[in-house]
Amino acid sequence: MTAGTLPAPGAALRYAPPIETELERLVTALGAIPALAERYPLRWLAIQLLEGDDDLLAEAEGLGGPTVTAALAACRERLAPHYGEDLDVALVDQRYRFVHALAGQALTRPATPPLTLSDRIDRVVTHRWLGIPIFLALMWVVFKLTTDVTAPFVDWIDATLSGPVSAWATTLLGVAGLGGAWFESLLVDGVIAGVGGVLVFVPVLLALYFALALLEDSGYMARAAFVMDRLMHALGLHGKSFLPMIVGFGCSVPAIYATRTLDSRRDRILTGLLVPFMSCSARLPVYVLIAAIFFPSHAGLVIFGLYLTGIVVAIVIGMLLRRTLFRNQPPAPFVLELPPYRLPTLRGVWRQMWERTAAFLRKATTIILATSVVVWLLLALPVRGEGRFADTPVDQSAFAAVSGATAPVFAPLGFGGWETSGALLTGFVAKEVVVSTLGQTYAVADLEEEVATAPATFSEDLLGIAGGLVSATGDALRALPGVIGITLETPEAETAPEGLAAAVRAGFEASSGGHGSLAALAFLVFVLLYTPCMTTVAAARHEFGSRWMWVSIVGQFAVAWLAALLVFQGGRLLGG
């Protein structure tokens, strides 16, 4: 069938009488200009001109001269008492009404529209009461995945870096005639212990990015934002704040920029102050390290609790600020477009995992490497005792002196040792650096006490690495059902920590008067909440100005200090 054989529609659109009258007048006026009458359907042209199509008006004026302008102005003037400035709105609205009425008469619709699969899932996932428990349950699964399943791979990379790789570096330097010199210490104690200490957490981050990619690509993340927005709105906070906060789970820097989606500057600043409380992925290695040392059987629960604490603290601080510094009109509601659920593709998930891991690796080979070298330099410089450069007890180094000066600030929190204070100071550069610094300070001390063992051959090392990978894969597969609560093997008895873990544990026990686990928990809470990294601070300055940047730096430090104090001293009072 061609268009020419189609019957003309039986229903004609008639606007309200005042508009119809003016349309007729305008059509008559335009019809008197042959150039226009030949070129355009006149009623259509008249409607477009009344609606304010400037391009078409310019064309019509070009063909018809000032007559068009005068006729149009006269029509508008006569319609102004009826519609004011909203003549175009009235025209469009009347068309919608016409189409709506026509469709209502012509179409037979089911009384209840059929639900799509997305609708059915949404009925549960975005349910007023079930939405938040489902969000929390998914978070729980994510952190079980990132801690329990990846733990064997973390141990494998750690054993490879601190064993064969360090030994190869030492051997190569020996062959090059640099063995035993300061350069060996720089490479092994600085670069490998520092950067390597962070690289061991690549499997953890890969698992986190895998889970985030699945949640984002499936369309669930938009639902999570919707569910949390509803909660925040109910608490008097700007609902849209949770969108930047969701971004903050990955990294605080883009989350700060994501506050641009908020309407008012006050809302942007308020959200910018809350975003760093959301635990970014850079903090995850710190949690995994400390939780594995102090709470090996409940690492997933501890990390889940930390993420939850971040959300709760952000909401509580937000409510406080909303009632004090940011008192203004109630937050405006908004419409959120929830995309349909999709099955994530392997390619899409891998792309996101790789992009994010690559960003982490870039950071490891730039900022973290540079900071590790600076920390090593400060650790190698003696300021007390009779040690020499790169051959001095670490507690007599410049790093110990500088860190020790700040340690009293953290003493009431249970982690007033110079090693932890130093790690928190360098953590301002990037949060992963907390781990690399702990690795450097404790590993150097640990190596000094290490007993020499018979060196393995290169092929033995390679076999050991391959065997370790196979074993780690098996362990990870066995741990996988544990994510949903199915335990395949009987839990092993907890063994005494060795190496770095033993050194870290001893350090916390010493600084807390025997309350090591409590101090470790306070340390984790402090890392979660304290001053964000310098890149985030720079982003905050860029977006909100210096004044709010300082509010963020000082405010977050104060909140973190108080929260850690509450955990440590409160725990001690309760007999922890």
């Binding site: 469009v92 908004f334 870039r362």
Partner: protein, 84 residues
Amino acid sequence: MLHQVLQALETASGPVSLDELSRQLGIDPGVLEDMIAFWVRKGRLQAGNGGVCGGSCGGCGPQAQECAFRPAGPRVITLRERMQ
């Protein structure tokens, strides 16, 4: 009908999804999309993405590489009159 969309937003007691709004107003989702687009053109509504920057990492600010963490945020539509 067009004003109903604005009124629904003004009186909502929290965020609403596009489908929810469509059911509430009895307007087909496709038509509602068009109506929202009209108000966006008129400057009464504002449509934005929950993500960080438009489409490329170049517009994110000084730390462009951090854009690896930019999720594809859902489209958010807000009333403009309550701005400032």
